[in-house]
């Protein structure tokens, strides 16, 4: 058996299966995924899937029958144990070997795990897989008090869903503000006030030392403070899954190192998605992204190149987060800016913060402002007049020149 083997069956892998067939590839395509499900979308897991607004059918990347219909060999519950580059094959933990002409590594990332006293108690959850969320959904119905460790996007999205479900919600954040790693103090303040206004208790500058409970968790221990909780969600970041690549001797450095063609240090092996460290020619630096558009885009680029193409992956990163009725859409990295300008009305929960560097637009955080989000995608890297951006009378179209 030969052809193209994909390690992983997440969004990048699902997209790769589709892209390979779309590009006319008729050889064998095998997806090896360690989860039980066909490739599914992760973003809804902490949003509409957690709340129960949508079910499994709406989160699948492609319907289940897509894979047999398109002659994709999808192996679920299959963990790869090793990559043998000399023989161009991968071996699974159950001992099956798959030979490849080209290999795509799409192993994604895993939640950072807390290893502190009590972390093995029942009722402490992470949120990465659909199985994780099914467990959390079950616990939601019984829980009264939920404590979320980590005030990042995942944690805050869960806080919003939990509050709507009627739970008593506390968010514990080790840094001096929520979203510290990913946004500016201005946006942190906005989201802090949003959540506290909805009745969420946020504790910043608060590290977690351990968990208390008798079999099941009953409290989160933070120094002298004890936060009562019968359900705990830990969302303190993710780490790229590089172990297989590293063991195979591929270059890794905060992710699997790929070139602008999504190719690793082995020319027959490509990588896509959260697990990669890739160059961004638009930003002129290397990035490791935790992002769906990046997973999809890299998968497309990698597939095209595995089939003999010459495609460069060059996209401005973008992200989104849903909390309550607010949709936050982001382009670029706000930390790149040396100044910022607000357009819209924060009190009405409809505004965008544009970030400029030396007069050029480098990022936007747009709250319920899809137009501002779209304009930033087009304005990225171009000069813009701050006063014109801020003025609601300025037609955004006029800024595009």
């Amino acid at each position: 058996m030969s052809g193209i083997v994909v390690i992983g069956a997440g969004q990048a892998a699902g997209q790769a299966a589709a892209s390979l067939r779309q590009e006319g590839y008729e050889g064998e395509v095998t997806l090896l995924g360690d989860e039980a499900q066909a490739p599914y979308q992760r973003p809804p897991l902490s949003k509409a899937y957690l709340s129960g607004d949508i079910g499994m059918d709406r989160v699948l990347v492609r319907p289940e029958n897509f894979y047999p219909d398109k002659n994709i060999n999808l192996k679920t519950n299959t963990r790869v144990a090793s990559i043998d580059r000399d023989n161009k094959s991968v071996t699974t933990e159950s001992g099956e070997t798959y030979e490849y002409e080209k290999l795509l590594i799409a192993t994604g990332s895993s939640p950072r795990i807390l290893n502190i006293p009590g972390s093995d108690l029942e009722g402490i959850h992470y949120l990465r897989t659909i199985d994780d969320v099914d467990g959390i959904r079950g616990a939601f119905e019984k829980a009264g008090k939920i404590c979320i460790v980590g005030g990042g996007y995942i944690g805050l999205e869960v806080a919003a869903v939990a509050k709507k479900a009627g739970l008593d919600v506390t968010v514990v954040e080790a840094m001096d503000r929520i979203l510290q790693r990913v946004t500016t103090p201005e946006m942190s303040d906005f989201y802090h006030n949003l959540h506290t206004g909805r009745g969420v208790n946020i504790m910043v500058n608060t590290g977690v030392d351990g968990f208390e409970g008798d079999g099941e968790v009953s409290a989160v221990l933070c120094g002298d403070t004890k936060v009562e909780a019968d359900l705990v969600i830990v969302g303190i970041g993710i780490i790229p899954n590089v172990a297989l690549a590293e063991a195979a001797g591929l270059e890794c450095d905060n992710g699997i190192v790929v070139n602008d063609h999504c190719q690793t240090s082995d020319p027959d092996i490509y990588a896509a998605g959260d697990c990669t460290n890739h160059p961004n020619p638009i930003m002129d630096r290397r990035l490791r992204l935790e992002s769906v558009p990046n997973a999809m885009g890299q998968a497309r680029t990698a597939c095209s190149n595995m089939l003999g193409g010459d495609k460069v992956y060059a996209e401005v990163p973008w992200f989104w987060s849903d909390q309550y009725e607010l949709k936050l859409q982001m382009v670029g990295f706000s930390a790149d800016g040396d100044s910022s300008v607000v357009r819209g009305d924060k009190d009405a929960n409809q505004f965008a913060v544009f970030y400029l560097k030396e007069g050029k637009v480098v990022a936007v955080d747009a709250v319920n402002s899809p137009k501002e989000f779209m304009v930033c995608k087009q304005l990225y890297g171009k000069p813009a007049d701050a006063a014109a951006l801020a003025d609601p009378e300025t037609e955004l179209k006029s800024l595009l020149g």
Partner: protein
Amino acid sequence: MPTVKFIEFNGTEHNVEANNGESIMVAATSNLIPGIDADCGGECSCATCHVLIDAEWRAKLEPSTDTEESMLDLNPDRTEDSRLSCQIIVSDAIEGIKINLPEFQY
């Protein structure tokens, strides 16, 4: 299972059997229709599932929301036929609908 007819900008036609209740975007991606990337998975967040639908068929659809309009508005290539296919739900009422795929999205 209504039929949806996707027509590429070069005239190539794809007739697909779509399921009631799913979006036109899902019908497209499930059938490997080219030019529909749908990066956000149907969240109306990315505008990469842009399609063109003529007035006759458009009249049979629910009108676009403000969010959809905002996502489309800044695209210099948008026309009055423009819609985001993730926002259009397949039903028997649109059996045979013709969906044109814009060249700029390839």
